[in-house]
Symmetry: C2
Subunit: 394 residues, 2 copies
């Protein structure tokens, strides 16, 4: 059998199976509008690779005919390490290819005593055995960081919590010092929340939504006993995570913000310290936050808003206020529908989403854009054993 398949279509088929487990070859051919023989060839390639398997033999239709073979991704073919690093703590999760968390750990961390990259290396070296003793190799590592991140170059451009305003080429430094040769992907923490929603919500994959990450943390490393409300937004628009022109998209400050304050709202910093302790403060924040979320929901015509981080405890109040303001702020007779939900994994949402970022990259179609801009590797190129040769000729 001397047949050939292209990377683009291999990735298209892999993506389709990932997004809708249980499809048959013929169904994939119909969805992608390519010939079933082509799908057949690609599927047998992916089966030989081991990442795809026949899940079950389906039932024939009412008019007879051969029974279809339902395909799926092998959940145990490999796993992904997801990581959130904050100023005070870090979280590691291990996720299989089905999006199931099989390992999870959170621990304090003091970034005043160790550099970011050192911390990363230590964490990976320490927890990789825990993930791999399941028999699954670690296919990639995703990292969520507070601050502005260029995920294409793998660079942390600036971070207020880390008090670092020079570029750190995180991915390059990390890969140089890492024992293993696996892809390392970085993005902003709130954006990682978005990646999680994209990667693990197979059925109803949303194209326009925001992830509101409200944390209660030190504003900078140096602020010892000064925990305040810190709010970041991750945006998914047209199905793509939006980073903006210089990777600072999602940075939030209220329209009513007053100068000389550290917090992002129109309240004083003294009030802000009482967040989650004084209901009156919470109410002010909820109202002001809801006005801005409503503006974004209407202006960007979003389908849903996901709330993540410790603010989750205020989710009900936030939803009520957002629904009020979206109505007030809408001129047309028919209200636009949208959903509000709470991120399922709570404290682990960012680390979990960071792992999802790798999976999303794995099933991303290699771009055919105008210029071969510095587009990061994606699709099956991300798989470790994919040397240039094995791939094409088989």
């Amino acid at each position: 059998m001397e047949r050939y398949v292209s990377k683009v279509n291999i990735t298209r088929v892999l993506r389709t199976i990932y997004l809708t487990q249980g499809l048959s070859r013929v169904e994939i051919a119909r969805i992608l509008d390519i010939n079933k023989s082509t799908v057949s060839k690609i599927v047998s390639f992916l089966e030989e690779l081991g990442i795809v398997e026949t899940a079950a033999v389906g039932e024939a239709g009412p008019t007879g005919g051969r029974r279809p073979l339902h395909l799926r991704i092998r959940p145990d073919w490999g796993c992904v390490m997801g990581l959130e690093i904050q100023t005070e703590a870090f979280t590691v999760v291990g996720v299989n290819l089905q999006g199931e968390v099989f390992f999870s750990h959170t621990e304090p961390l003091d970034l005043r005593t160790i550099s970011l990259v050192d911390a990363f290396i230590a964490i990976v070296d320490r927890f990789r055995p825990s993930l791999e003793n399941t028999g699954m190799p670690v296919l990639g590592i995703g990292v969520g960081l507070p601050g502005f991140v260029d995920p294409l170059r793998g660079v942390l451009c600036a971070s207020m919590p880390f008090e670092h305003y020079e570029e750190i080429n995180f991915v390059r430094e990390a890969r140089e010092r890492l024992g293993i040769r696996v892809p390392v992907l970085v993005d902003n923490d709130a954006n990682c929340g978005c990646w999680g929603e994209l990667a693990f919500r197979h059925s109803s994959r949303p194209s326009n939504f925001i992830f509101v990450l409200g944390e209660h943390r030190k504003h900078t490393i140096a602020m010892d006993n000064h925990r305040i409300m810190a709010l970041g937004v991750g945006l998914v628009l047209n199905g793509q995570v939006h980073h903006g022109e210089t990777f600072s998209a999602g940075e939030f400050r209220s329209i009513l913000y007053k100068r000389q304050q550290v917090n992002q709202f129109s309240i004083t910093d003294e009030q802000a310290k009482l967040f989650l302790q004084d209901p009156r403060v919470d109410e002010l924040i909820v109202d002001e936050l809801a006005r801005h979320i409503s503006f974004l929901v209407n202006m960007l015509n979003l389908r849903k808003v996901v709330i993540g981080g410790p603010v989750e405890v205020l989710a009900e109040q936030i939803e009520e206020a957002v629904r009020k303001y979206t109505r007030i702020n809408w001129a047309y007779p028919r209200q636009v529908e949208f959903e509000m939900e709470v991120s399922r994994l709570g404290e682990r949402a960012v680390a979990y989403g960071a792992a999802g970022m790798y999976l999303e990259r794995l099933i991303r179609i290699p771009s055919v854009e105008t210029d071969r801009e510095a587009t990061a590797p994606c699709g099956i190129d991300l798989l470790p054993q994919m040397g240039q040769d094995q791939l094409v000729r088989r």
Copy 2:
């Protein structure tokens, strides 16, 4: 010479030449990362078609070598009709393939006496000869309308100014009744402003910006002597015009809006009527508008803001205020840079941009997305003489 070329790469080459006039074959091959022989074949195809020509013979480099042949789109190969239809007036423009306006006309229109589609047909039939007597065939027609538009299906979903809240399948009705068989594209008026910036700003093609269309018009058809400020926003994010989940993106209302008003700000409707007449009202509007624009600039990390429509007269004040609020609303030490500019064509910006929408579609790479969703035709499929056969075998 029995060679073959694919639609995707034909469109990629056409797009590259369009975006950067004067490239040579070798340069295109380098940019697109395809073999120069492939480019050669595609270029000779496009030359036979007539849409591409050799503009000039370049100079050899300092180390010698054959002189490159600079390619360009033939500006007179065809033209595009751009149309803006409002409640009180319409504007037609004729644009050649270089983006030069060679025809322009504005006239009052009373949509109480004629239906939208009827008006469209009448306008096209009346002005097509004016465009075609230049010898250029009309390749396509772009239309900008106030309201929510689904450009993929060509449907006007709802329009407050037109007082129409049922779907109108504009493109289908128009094409059925139109004498000629040319593509008709529709989009929201503010979005058309964006299309214009994309299509005719070849050198520095922006990927993240908004077009603020501020008009001074009747709020609905029925409002006889009641002209107020009407503001719409078109958004381009990640290089794509953003329509949102249900095509209502860009609809603006202030966060401080008070109930029971028709205008979009926190002022009373009585005040709003004095827009552009009472400087105190203008100042209130400018300040409130600038706060929201600044929020978007920071939150979406935009590179520029374009002001279009009659608000242009306030552009300087708006810029000053926006610069003030983006600074106030920014926590990081280094300010993010962005530009503010006034749309060049003033009153004709929407009609002009509507024409640009066709050109953008013409140079859009056929998508290789997951499913063959109802993706509108694009690339060279838009050209009239492109029967299925002529294209591939030559």
